[in-house]
């Protein structure tokens, strides 16, 4: 096994695979920055190019591209408040307020370094999981998946404001997101729910226009009204010196970064759940690290830990997602499903052979994630100060480009003009939510998890009847969910007692 591990490294440093990896990483860099076009879309666009490649060339090319997309998606989220990737929404919550305070460099430095740490931990998870992957993944049936989603939903309590009304507003926003996810065909009988007779809504309301609308449109409207640069009147000196500060922040909160990376790798491993969930669980983890109630109110207004958590989880989930794809041929998400197509084009059948006959190729995938991320993060860190200066450009000059990115980002999701209507409707809802103090992260979480939750519940009930509730794994995960739900209240109580004592 150790020989295969080293051979995998040597394989990607051969001339052709290395060049293909660099080309893939360069494409992934730019696609990651563009909103709407995700890693999955890029993989689909690039798939025809791998026909003439050998497996040793194709996988560095595709994986180099895919793993880098998640890293550079953070840049747009932080600088402009537009999610570069649907998995980079949680980064906006604290990243964009930091950009508005003139700390874009620091936020970007932290996001990139935590992404690198996350990618390394994700790759390590993939390496360590190879010998033990089978019992681990097979232990998770649909009831356990449903319970993992319930754990994700309980994070709403961490993403809400403080106090009774803060919690209620969070639950309302989460519930509203959940209700929006109910649109489309139901998973039991295919009955159309709340579709108003529109074929467009049969598959549900698309995620990317909703997220761009909820997060980006309100920020652009605010930018137009304020009439200043994104960084406003913040002192210019913070901008230039922030990158290294952000890098140091990653190591200052290293345990949080590692914790969130592990969360990302574990959630990424579960088919059908993916980065959308991992980022919010990681964000909830980050909010738990607040040492006082005053510190807790800083989240959502530019706390660096709110950047580190999701940044790390976004990248570690890539390594995790490769585990079921490679070992079982079960894709963990849309990107991995397309990668599975590449396996078949190459004449390789994912499964036990990948852990025996093709072990060197499997390890070369691990190394591709590591090396591509190291290269891209290093290059980004060298130039990020210049990119951060965009936040000081006059708002008037930048607003048309932001609208352009939002509309194109929404359209390119499905190449459907209806996506623009969805963008505007949810943009309006986002503006109202921002104006009247409704927290937006619980909405995003409810919306992302609603559909998956119903799907796994339907499969669980159909497959096991009522007995799914009595499975050991389900009970254990339910208890964890109860713990996660009550932890913020418990912590608030502890902090209140501590404050009263001082």
């Amino acid at each position: 096994m150790f020989n295969s591990f080293i051979d995998g490294l040597l394989l990607i440093f051969q001339l052709k695979p290395f060049v293909f990896m660099l080309v893939g990483a360069a494409i992934g860099f730019w696609v990651g920055i563009l909103p709407g076009l995700g890693g999955g879309t890029t993989l689909a666009l690039m798939l025809p190019f791998v026909y003439k490649m050998t497996p040793a060339e194709a996988f560095p090319f595709l994986l180099g591209m895919h793993s880098v997309c998640a890293t550079t998606g953070d840049i747009t989220s932080i600088l402009f408040g537009i999610p570069g990737e649907s998995v980079a929404v949680a980064l906006i919550v604290d990243g964009f307020p930091m950009a508005k305070k003139g700390e874009a460099g620091r936020a970007l430095g932290a996001a990139l370094m935590s992404s690198l740490v996350g990618a390394l931990i994700g790759a390590a998870a993939l390496t360590l999981a190879i010998p033990v992957v089978r019992p681990l993944v097979l232990a998770f049936g649909s009831p356990e998946m449903f319970m993992v989603i319930i754990i994700g939903l309980t994070c709403i309590s961490s993403l809400s404001g403080q106090g009774k009304r803060g919690s209620l507003l969070g639950l309302m926003a989460g519930g509203f997101g959940f209700m929006c996810s109910l649109v489309g065909q139901d998973p039991y009988a295919g009955i159309h729910r709340y579709t108003f007779g529109l074929v467009y809504l049969w598959g549900g309301i698309p995620l990317v226009p909703v997220m761009i609308g909820i997060y980006a449109i309100p920020e652009i409207i605010e930018l137009i009204v304020r009439g200043t640069a994104i960084a406003g009147e913040a002192p210019a000196e913070n901008l230039g010196r922030g990158v290294m500060e952000g890098v140091r922040d990653t190591f200052r909160h290293f345990w949080l970064t590692v914790r969130c990376s592990i969360v990302g790798a574990l959630v990424g491993m579960l088919p059908g759940i993916g980065g959308g969930v991992a980022q919010w669980i990681a964000y909830a983890q980050a909010t738990h690290s607040a040492g006082s109630r005053e510190e807790r109110t800083g989240f959502g207004h530019g706390d660096i830990r709110g950047v580190l958590g999701p940044g790390a989880a976004n990248n570690s989930k890539e390594g995790g997602a490769l585990i079921p794809t490679v070992a079982f041929g079960i894709p963990a998400g849309p990107g991995m499903a397309i990668l599975l197509g590449a396996f078949l084009i190459m004449g390789i059948v994912p499964g036990p052979d990948m852990l025996t006959k093709h072990l060197t190729l499997t390890f070369s995938m691990v190394w591709t994630i590591v090396v591509a991320n190291i290269i891209v993060v290093t290059i980004c860190l060298l130039f990020i100060n210049r990119i951060a200066r965009l936040t000081r450009v006059r708002g008037n000059l930048i607003v048309p480009f932001l609208f352009f990115l939002c509309f194109i980002g929404a359209f390119t999701t499905n190449n459907n003009m209806n996506d623009l209507i969805v963008l505007l409707i949810f943009g309006g809802i986002g503006v109202l939510m921002a104006r009247f103090g409704w927290p937006r992260p619980p909405f995003a979480l409810g919306y992302i998890l609603g559909r998956i939750a119903e799907f796994y519940l339907s499969v669980s009930v159909s497959r096991y009847g009522g007995s799914w509730l009595l499975r050991k794994g389900t009970i254990l995960l339910f208890l964890i969910a109860v713990g996660v739900a009550f932890y913020p209240f418990l912590k608030e109580r502890i902090l209140r007692t501590k404050e009263a004592g001082t």
Binding site: Q162, G166, L168, G175, T297, N396, V431
Partner: protein
């Protein structure tokens, strides 16, 4: 209590939740179970929030041991409504332009109009940035990624009339 926007939003959500539940009641049990459960939960939670608002006021607060009320939220200064409506009108205008003349023309046109009319920028800057917006759009999305962009209503209308 002030009958503010926050209250109107809560009332709106109560209405949506009620509609979700009532609509779902017509469906088979399995199809309806999720919408009904979520709808009822949201309905009652929102009513609870409204009542709390009636007694506590608009802002989330907490009483300190001395009886003094402290805010639990960092509330940003609200933006002026009229300016927000104008800003939203630009977003809507861009959408209408796209519908009417399609992406390739509306992107440089919108950029130019925004820079000249709202930004009061000079002709050179407005023209230069409009050209670069078109360059970015065409180079990246049309030439490199081959994304098909539909024609606007105007182009389609002209084609139907046989003018183009």
């Amino acid at each position: 209590m002030r009958y503010g926007g926050k209250m109107m939003m809560s009332l709106g959500l109560i209405g949506v939740a009620a509609w979700v539940v009532v609509t779902a009641l017509k469906w088979p049990l399995r199809t309806a179970v999720f919408p009904v459960t979520i709808g009822i939960l949201v309905f009652f939670i929102t009513i609870g929030e409204l009542f709390l608002g009636l007694f506590e006021g608009e802002e989330a607060t907490e009483k300190k041991p001395g009886g003094e009320k402290v805010s639990l939220e960092r509330v940003d200064q609200p933006l002026p409504t009229r300016k927000m409506l104008w800003a939203s009108a630009w977003a809507m205008g861009f959408f209408l332009l796209i519908l009417l003349i399609g992406f390739p023309i509306s992107i440089p046109l919108f950029t130019f109009l925004y820079l000249r009319l709202h930004g009061k920028e000079r002709w050179g800057i407005s023209l230069g940035l409009s050209a670069s917006a078109f360059g970015c759009f065409y180079g990246l999305f049309v030439w490199l990624l081959h994304i098909p962009f539909p024609d606007g209503w105007l182009q389609r209308g002209l084609r139907v009339l046989g003018i183009v």
